[in-house]
């Protein structure tokens, strides 16, 4: 048996470097990196020379200057004598607030609509399909204006709708009593914690006694009763929470918590829009689970709800999470449309800063950097979650 072309017998002529695959691979990568670095360098030089030619400078010193403008809604105290930096933080907090609440609500709505679309109930699935198709195919900005116009058509302040519990609804927003935690709140919470521990212990002991066949004397219920009693008596005695009721002033309601119409329009718009996309992602995930799983679950006698909850959804989740991350990032970035409905978010503060200081480029870099950071944090958290639910099937 003659070995054919056996490398161990012949010595190949040394391969010249320009034909050696290993050399070429490395050289190719080095050259690409060099090219990218040179290109970025060219862009940076172009930018700096063009900016200085127009008398613009690149620096972030304006962040220490006085802002001079008021911000309509702010979770932290702010007024016009604060710096641009502080104004920017207020904008950032507003964006974060609407993004976080938006993500939570959009997920809930999106999952419900996605499951509804797969329902055997004809009306439910068609309504869900119509919702998804309509919302996905119209621009978000248009939807925001529409929702804002609807909210503006609520009664004026003079004709405010008064709801029970000191809640007021008018075109400027929803005004509810604002919780004001008192000093005794920590004590009350501690009491509740103690009560919870008591109730859990009681039910565990009751369970053990029941397993051993001994009478439980309704220990579990007693534990629960003790918790309830502690909560109620603690509330009455300690008064851990005061409520700041909204009071009608000459023009607006003072005090209490206000959900302004701008914020509500933005939140509703973002939630409805993103939920439509999330619904499709969820639907795709559910439909990707092998049919055999569904049949096996049915064969075990699980109901529809149990099948969905215990068998289908956990498996679908592995497929849903990566595109879901994209939708969350979209929501965070779409929140920059807040200026269209008068909600002062980070983009609005940024553009005002760019105008008043006359330095658009550093401000744009700052705004882009902020959105990039928010997006990276969101996708990092989602990827961690993704890794946890990735069950290795090997």
């Amino acid at each position: 048996m003659t070995p054919t072309g056996s490398a161990s017998h012949e010595r190949h002529a040394p391969v010249p470097p320009w034909r050696d695959v290993r050399v070429l691979r490395v050289a190719g990568q080095v050259i690409v990196v060099l090219a990218v670095v040179l290109f970025l360098g060219f862009l940076a030089t172009n930018l700096t020379s063009a900016m200085s030619a127009r008398g613009l400078s690149f620096g972030f010193d304006f962040l220490d200057q006085t802002a001079g403008f008021e911000i309509g809604e702010s979770p932290v105290p702010y007024d016009a004598t604060d710096t641009y930096g502080e104004a920017y933080v207020v904008g950032l907090l507003n964006t974060l607030f609407v993004s976080v609440v938006g993500i939570v609500l959009a997920t809930i709505l999106g999952v419900l609509v996605g499951i509804a679309r797969l329902s055997p109930n004809w009306l439910l699935s068609r309504v869900a399909a119509a919702y998804v198709e309509l919302i996905r195919n119209t621009p978000l900005l248009v939807q925001l204006f529409f929702l804002f116009a609807i909210l503006l058509s609520l009664p004026r302040v003079a004709d405010t709708i008064a709801l029970p519990g000191s809640v007021y609804l008018n075109q400027r927003g929803l005004f509810v009593p604002g919780p004001q935690p008192q000093a005794t709140l920590a004590l009350w919470l501690g009491l509740i914690g103690f009560g919870v521990v008591l109730a859990i212990t009681a039910s565990v002991v009751a369970g053990r006694r029941a397993a051993a066949g001994r009478p439980t004397h309704r220990l579990a219920w007693l534990g629960l009763l003790a918790l309830l009693a502690l909560a109620v008596i603690g509330w009455i005695v300690l008064a851990p929470m005061r409520f700041d009721l909204p009071v009608r002033g000459r023009f607006n309601f003072q005090g209490g918590l206000a959900l302004s119409s701008g914020f509500t329009a933005l939140l509703a718009g973002l939630v409805i829009y993103t939920a439509a996309f999330i619904a499709e992602v969820v639907r795709g995930g559910i439909q990707a689970v092998r049919r055999g799983q569904l049949e096996a679950a049915r064969a075990l006698g699980l109901s529809e709800g149990q099948t969905l909850r215990l068998v289908i959804f956990p498996q679908a989740l592995r497929i849903i999470v990566p595109p879901l991350t994209s939708q969350y990032l979209n929501l965070v970035k779409n929140s920059s449309l807040a200026i269209a409905v008068g909600y002062p978010d980070l983009f609005k503060v940024g553009t005002t800063m760019a105008n008043q200081t006359g330095q658009p480029v550093p401000v744009i870099v700052l705004v882009m950097g902020t959105y990039l950071t928010l997006s990276l944090i969101t996708s990092l958290l989602m990827n961690l979650y993704n890794r946890r639910i990735q069950v290795l099937e090997r």
Partner: protein, 370 residues
């Protein structure tokens, strides 16, 4: 296969590198010091930009059209008339005046509508030749946006409220919601004035003019603040103009005028003198009806110099010697421009007030044209 594609790809990349080396611009000689190595220092004094080769005048003449930044949504100043498709208004007419001076044709204008937020970058990038968009002259804007030509409209900031609310002064607005546009001096002045008076309020800020006034009209705001001329103009667009009243308070000085990009002195001079020419023409009694007659027959040396019959002053600016005649024929003198857009015959009927000639107690004063 890797071998076969790797080599041509490597050649392509080397070619790209060589090409990008060629394209790296050398910073212009006047600003090489400023360009290198000081990105993090305190804001340096802006160095005047080298104008486009030949200057903006050559650029505009070569293009054959003037790019003029306007509001587009402010009746009386610059408003796109839906019926005729024409941009009408006080500011729009000054755009036409500049076009008439430089290009001889008042209609050779491309009007670009910009929001209050966009106008600064439009100027700074040199995208527009001149911004005539009810822009207030401030020191920050003078140093960072562009150079301000003489004020064409002396205005002040005011407040518009609903008559039924029984408000007579700013103090009555305690706790109110006030609509305002973002990126304006109005926003800053509002905060200043209310702080000085110790009045608390909630601003409702929008980026476009239509949304601001629509939200006020719907009742979401108790008041809206802006330049008084803008309030008068926008009141005509409200669903019921008689419901609204403009308070007598004047919250600030708002001198409105054209702005040109930084760094081009010759272009700045041209726009500056177009404004002065219209004012001087009104002072000398030159109107669009009699300008040609006065050019041909007037014996007044001031008029003869202004209209180019004597001297070479227009040439010194880089224009035709009788450019003032073109301007007056196209849009008329200052008084005609004002009356046509804001005067007694219009919905606004704004009094001249400070916008009259200095000889009549106003602030309009043109330097001698000689």
């Amino acid at each position: 296969m890797t071998r076969r594609i790797a080599f041509p790809v490597a050649i392509l990349i080397v070619a790209l590198i060589l090409a990008s080396c060629e394209a790296t611009p050398t910073p212009s000689p006047g600003v090489s010091g400023a360009a290198s190595g000081s990105p993090a220092e305190a804001t340096p004094v802006p160095t005047p930009a080298p104008p486009p080769p030949g200057g903006r005048l050559a650029l505009v003449s070569g293009r054959g059209e003037l790019i003029c930044g306007i509001n587009g949504g402010l009746p009386g100043f610059s408003f796109l008339d839906q019926a005729t498709g024409e941009n009408t208004g006080f500011d729009a007419d000054f755009c036409r005046a500049v076009a008439a001076a430089v290009l001889g044709d008042p209609e050779a204008v491309e009007f670009r509508a910009t929001t209050a937020d966009q106008r600064s970058t439009a100027l700074q990038s040199g995208e527009i030749d001149v911004l005539i968009r009810n822009t207030t002259w401030t020191v920050t804007r003078d140093t960072s946006w562009g150079l301000f030509a003489p004020t064409t409209f002396y205005d002040g900031q005011g407040m518009m409220v609903r008559e039924a609310d029984d408000i007579t002064s700013l103090e009555d607005l305690e706790g109110a919601t006030i609509c305002v546009q973002s990126g304006t001096t109005t926003e800053l002045n509002l905060a200043d004035q209310m702080r000085a008076l110790g009045v608390g309020f909630t601003p409702s800020v929008f980026d476009n003019i239509e949304q601001t006034y629509a939200t006020y009209d719907e009742g979401n705001c108790d008041a809206v603040t802006s330049d008084r001329s803008q309030l008068v103009s926008q009141r005509t667009t409200m669903s019921d103009p008689s419901e609204h009243v403009i308070l007598e308070v004047v919250m600030s000085k708002e001198p409105l005028g054209p702005v040109v990009p930084l760094g081009d002195d010759a272009w700045f001079n041209i726009v500056k003198w177009v404004v002065f020419a219209t004012i001087e023409a009104e002072e000398q009694g030159i109107t669009s009806d009699n300008v040609e007659e006065m050019r041909d027959t007037s014996e007044n040396p001031v008029v003869r110099r202004l209209l180019g019959t004597e001297g070479e002053l227009g040439i010194g600016l880089g224009l035709q010697n009788d450019w003032v005649v073109d301007v007056i024929l196209a849009v008329g003198n200052y008084g005609e421009i004002y009356d046509r857009n804001l005067g007694p015959g219009t919905d606004f009927d704004l009094e001249r007030g400070p916008n009259s000639l200095w000889t009549e107690g106003g602030l309009l004063y043109a330097p001698p044209y000689r």
